[in-house]
């Protein structure tokens, strides 16, 4: 596409990575449901296996439909390339497992999705990778948590569950002082709201299950490399990242940082991580995510409009004690959100009812438009009551530590007519009040 400026977001969302199919003329991206791809010759086969040439061999490692998605999200994020994975969790695991092994350490935000918290706090510990958790806004805390074996900083653009906005520029500067990259989970914001790589993050991943696909139909993940972190320089200074900067016996003694000055992470993640752990994405799922991304900007704008209306309504309702959205001046991240997220801080947030666990349940049961389920980022509005579902085993004290009360309700605002959403909430709030009488 010759021109004098880089294409804009909406053009990339529709065209990055995809041209009409040269064989059939198909304009939409074809779904290449093929495990394997025929070699042109024995010489080409050997060259593909040895990374002398680039191409598709086997769909666990790469696939033409997935490659379109990888290029597209890279383009939207301002990255150099990406790897699609079976889920967002698989993207997080692939990233960590590519960068470190037993004896390593991560500094992570306390404000994380529960699945990420489980992986870091319990599962990776079993494999010898320790994590220190610090409050996302505690910059001295990030710095103080660094150990000689620290390999990664990790946070969410807007942290779970309180929507603490990560000060990416400041936290990445601390990470870079320590000679390690910053990985950011950008699931709830998407590149339409925030491009973490532009602010200093080095790696970004998404649960594409949520807003990227946008329709609640698919489990998918993707990790994007910004190409900004100098693995070789960090290795020379500290010995870290030998995985990327020293010969790897598992792949022809390749030195990934020599092979690709900026893309060493992606080379190893695909050639080792997808090859050996195998958490690849189905091309059919990749296609569903692509379909979603084509309308990402339209959907996100509507998500933000509807969210603003719902937040305003709830904030003025007498039976609501707190609304946890950075749109409100009372939110601790309000100022940072205004700066980093001028289009909005996402459509997933929680609020507190002035009531008991039973009243929370009554609220959820009375909703008719909102669907009660364990997901976010659907085009349909969603609700969950943590105290009776995801966190039901926890005591009141333990809930309080996580910022959750008996009456905390989490919403994911969808694309319905806003008047219908407000009407639904109004009815359910009335039901909850009555349940307390």
């Amino acid at each position: 596409m010759p021109g004098y400026s880089d294409p804009g977001f909406d053009t990339l969302a529709l065209h990055a990575g995809a041209a009409p199919d040269p064989t059939t003329g198909a304009r939409a991206v074809p779904i290449h449901l093929s495990t394997s791809f025929v070699f042109e010759s024995s010489d080409q086969a050997a060259a593909l296996f040895n990374l002398e040439r680039a191409g598709h061999v086997y769909s666990r490692i790469s696939n033409p439909t997935n490659a379109v998605l990888e290029q597209r999200v890279s383009a939207l994020e301002g990255g150099i390339g990406a790897i699609t994975t079976a889920s967002g969790q698989a993207a997080l695991h692939l990233t960590i497992a590519t960068l470190m092994g037993a004896g390593s350490h991560i500094v992570a935000s306390t404000a994380l999705y529960g699945g990420s918290q489980n992986l870091l706090h319990y599962t990776l510990r079993r494999f010898g990778i320790e994590t220190s958790f610090v409050k996302p806004g505690d910059i001295d805390g990030w710095r103080a948590a660094v150990r000689p074996n620290t390999k990664l900083f990790f946070g969410e653009t807007v942290g779970n569950p309180g929507l603490d906005v990560l000060d990416i520029a400041t936290v990445s500067a601390v990470a870079h002082e320590a000679g390690v990259p910053l990985l950011v989970d950008s699931t709830l914001t998407t590149p339409w709201l925030l491009k973490p790589l532009e602010h200093g993050a080095d790696l970004v991943y998404h649960s594409a299950t949520k807003f990227l696909s946008g329709h609640g139909t698919v489990i998918a993940g993707i990790v994007v490399d910004g190409g900004s972190f100098d693995w070789a320089a960090s290795h020379a200074a500290s010995g870290k990242f030998a995985e990327l900067a020293e010969p790897y016996e598992g792949f022809h003694n390749m030195v990934f940082t020599d092979e690709s000055t900026v893309g060493a992470f992606l080379l190893r993640a695909r050639r080792e991580g997808l090859r050996d752990f195998g958490a690849c994405l189905s091309p059919h799922s990749a296609w569903l995510v692509l379909q979603g991304i084509e309308t990402l900007s339209l959907r996100m704008a509507r998500h933000m409009d509807n969210t603003a209306k719902v937040v305003e309504y709830l904030a003025s309702h007498p039976f609501v004690s707190r609304v946890g959205h950075p749109l409100l001046e009372s939110h601790p991240s309000h100022a940072l959100a205004q700066k980093l997220l001028p289009r909005g801080a996402g459509s997933v947030f929680s609020f507190d009812l002035k009531g008991s666990r039973e009243q929370g349940k009554a609220f959820v049961d009375a909703l008719q438009v909102f669907s009660h389920l364990a997901n976010v980022g659907d085009c349909r509005s969603l609700v969950i009551h943590p105290a009776s579902t995801t966190h039901f085993r926890m005591s009141d004290d333990a809930l309080a530590l996580g910022g959750i009360t008996q009456g905390t309700i989490r919403l994911s605002i969808g694309l319905e007519d806003p008047a219908d959403l407000l009407e639904d909430l109004k009815r359910a709030l009335r039901a909850a009040e009555k349940a307390g009488v």
């Binding site: 596409m1 010759p2 021109g3 004098y4 400026s5 880089d6 294409p7 990339l12 065209h15 990055a16 990575g17 995809a18 041209a19 060259a47 040895n50 990374l51 002398e52 040439r53 680039a54 191409g55 598709h56 790469s62 696939n63 033409p64 997935n66 490659a67 379109v68 990888e70 290029q71 890279s74 383009a75 301002g78 990255g79 150099i80 390339g81 990406a82 790897i83 699609t84 910004g226 190409g227 900004s228 100098d230 070789a232 320089a233 022809h252 003694n253 390749m254 020599d258 092979e259 690709s260 000055t261 900026v262 893309g263 992606l266 080379l267 695909r270």
Partner: protein
């Protein structure tokens, strides 16, 4: 592998093979604000198909020390010194853009030391637009964006330098930023552009070349359009021209076409 050239550490990527004096050698010379890694999908293959590959990081670039060459002529002296350091009496020279002028000048200065000459994305004269020249000095990020836009022709490149899923626009930009960051002493961007812009000896050099010459030109190259290579093509005594799909960054946008053109030309 690392060599000492003119007293400075010089990095050469060898394509995953150990240098073997019994094999013919191809030296790859990158363009302005690039490094050896732009050749990843040509060098590794040739290194596994009968050739020694020395994809150099020019002085002051990437993993090499020293000061960036101030002129195409100075850079060609560096290439001859590199050949001496590697113990090479003769080599194929393959250059891209600025690197193509360096290869050309080297082949003119020492015709008996060059077995083949491959000029990728070449043009003569290689004048740099004043706005771009100025931006490379005072606003390198803007100049990187301009070069990047001019260097690419498609939003749907095939599997590329990091395999499938590579976003060529972004990876090229990241490489240029990295090259600037790696050398805080000198603005190698501006130095490279000045050397290109000042080079006046292209047509004369071409007439002195005795080695068979291959021109690999990008059909949609806006930095070095096909027509801008015509005077060199006319001056070449033993020239062959291959036009491949893609823009100036054709090694990444059309990796197989560029590789096959080289392979056919270099022979077994």
């Amino acid at each position: 592998m690392e060599l000492s050239v003119n007293g400075s550490k010089t990095f050469c990527y060898t394509g995953g093979k150990v240098f073997d004096p019994a094999k013919p050698t191809a030296i790859f010379i990158h363009g302005v604000l690039n490094d050896h890694s732009v050749w990843i999908l040509q060098t590794r293959y040739l290194a596994h198909h009968g050739w020694n590959v020395l994809a150099v990081d020019l002085p002051g670039h990437g993993q090499s020390g020293g000061d960036p060459p101030a002129s195409v002529e100075a850079a060609s002296e560096f290439v001859l010194a590199l050949m001496d350091a590697a113990g090479l009496t003769k080599a194929a020279l393959i250059g891209h853009s600025f690197g193509s002028l360096i290869a050309l000048e080297t082949a003119a200065r020492a015709p008996d030391r060059v077995s083949h000459l491959v000029l990728v994305g070449t043009a003569f004269p290689l004048k740099v637009a004043p706005a771009l020249m100025e931006a490379s000095q005072n606003n390198p990020e803007k100049a990187i964006a301009m070069v990047n836009t001019f260097s690419h022709s498609t939003l749907a490149p095939p599997p590329s330098s990091m395999g499938p899923g590579t976003w060529v626009y972004g990876s090229h930009k990241a490489l240029m930023r990295r090259m600037l960051a790696r050398n805080p002493r000198v603005n190698i961007f501006h130095a490279g552009f000045k050397a290109c812009d000042a080079y006046a000896g292209g047509d004369a050099a071409m007439t002195k070349v005795t080695a068979p010459t291959l021109f690999v030109l990008g059909q949609s190259d806006q930095m070095a359009p096909v027509k801008a290579a015509q005077s060199l093509i006319r001056a070449a005594a033993h020239g062959k021209v291959v036009v491949v799909p893609g823009g100036h960054n054709m090694m990444a946008e059309s990796p197989d076409a560029v590789l096959m053109a080289m392979k056919d030309f270099l022979g077994p």
